[in-house]
Subunit: 272 residues, 2 copies
């Protein structure tokens, strides 16, 4: 990867990591400092955006509840408009852009519109959380598989059109879906990371136990990871309680490889 | 995460990413520039090590075939020796330190020896490879699960002792194991990434097809990812051929979300 500055007319689909600027890649920093237009998701932190070139045009394109809504097609239109005008465009997503980030739709659009683009990976929340907990995610004897999953997904068979126009996607929180969130037995030697788990943690834990996972399996719920308000609830699958889990966004880590140093606590960044 | 310099007597367990220095985190760069002792694995690239403080003591602790062998206990002894002497120690692993990196054994040792330590995540090879291929790893309609697995693992029940002494671990390449590498059916809506897949790609593909995965499922084998010698073999599960895959290290990506821009090719870094 050549570490050149952001080039005119190119779109950079870049992972901003979990929020802590120290977890940005050098390449992401270089693009923040040189891109002319920046399109950040809501979860991209203020500390990260503070590193942008002061003359950059920053257009937030988050779609979270309570925010003015921009459609996926609207994001595509912004990328097209600015890249066509010869500007360098930094499309900044939290975590890694290719994991649970709807990157597929943006990549399909960029290809179809013949807009040259580059993808830069980022630190996904699971890795940052595991580093904070100081726990391995795999283990040579007990966990040879690491599974990332999410309880939010599109309705079966629904797919955004290739021209980038957004079709209405039904977001199905875990527990309300007719299809079970996991089909078949979970491998006993797996570590499971659940992104966007919803709020029905007890139901989720019960389904995992019903699928054959032992209730004594360690389970850690991390709320607002990599922020000053980070909250950690370390327990077991059998003892996971909805009320003990902090506010969204929450990440769940489940498996015998998970060995957090301490039980439930609120931690501040920078503490050991 | 406070972005202070490496502190005396602390051990930093840090991910160096896939090899490209542009994919180092800012925190990893800062520690490279300030640590007094650096213990890198073999897969940590020369370009990354070139960023180290020129006065740092660099002791390679790789354990790959053909290299002078250092045991896991030997690595622990080096961490203890230098941290006890009040030096800052950077234990540098390729990719992310908590994924398929034997971090569990080093963390258990550090805790038992009461050596303060910090963990810094890194970009894992799968994310770098997906960025190069410009393919999503998940998809809202076709892939709600991302599974990292490896065909190398310890013999069942074998676990390193807590005191850090290395027990002899049997490395079982895929295909020679009595236990199937995957038990039960693979979820149909999963993307599978196989780290250290061995060389029996055809056998692995046949087992996946036998477990119910369609032979037309996209499959990409990436050899020497993120290096100038990177080699990409993009095909389907049914058409995967041992002879078409480049030299180790190889990463396999399998699933319907995988949409590489091109079929088999040798690419150079920095090309679009």
């Amino acid at each position: 990867m050549v570490s050149s500055s952001a080039q005119p007319g190119l779109v950079y689909l870049v992972g901003a990591g979990p929020g802590d600027p120290g977890l940005l890649t050098l390449r992401a920093l270089h693009l923040l400092e040189s891109a002319e237009v920046i399109l950040p998701d809501d979860l991209v932190s203020d500390e990260v955006l503070a590193l942008a070139n002061p003359s950059a045009l920053i257009i937030p394109v988050g779609k979270r509840c309570g925010q003015p809504r921009i459609t996926q097609a609207g994001i595509h239109a912004l990328m097209l408009e600015h890249a066509s005008a010869g500007r360098s465009v930094l499309r900044l997503k939290s975590g890694d852009p290719l994991v649970f980030g709807r990157a597929g739709e943006e990549i399909a659009f960029l290809r179809q519109a013949n807009i040259p683009f580059e993808v830069v990976p980022g630190i996904t929340a699971a890795f940052a959380v595991a580093a904070t907990l100081k726990t391995p995610l795999t283990d040579r004897s007990s966990a040879s598989k690491l599974i990332f999953t999410t309880a939010h997904h599109a309705a079966p068979g629904v797919r955004a059109a290739d021209d980038g126009r957004e079709q209405e996607q039904k977001q199905i929180p875990f527990g309300n879906d007719k299809k079970k969130w996991w089909e078949g037995e979970l491998p006993p030697d797996a570590t499971l990371v659940v992104y966007m788990p919803g709020r029905n943690f007890r139901t989720l834990a019960d389904e995992l136990i019903a699928s054959g996972i032992d209730g004594t399996t360690p389970c850690v719920a991390v709320s607002k990871a990599s922020t000053p308000d980070e909250h950690i609830h370390a327990t077991t699958l059998a003892e996971l309680e909805d009320a003990s889990v902090g506010p969204a966004p929450v990440l769940l880590l489940i498996g015998h490889a998970i060995q957090p140093a301490a039980r439930s606590s609120v931690r501040q960044r920078g503490t050991a």
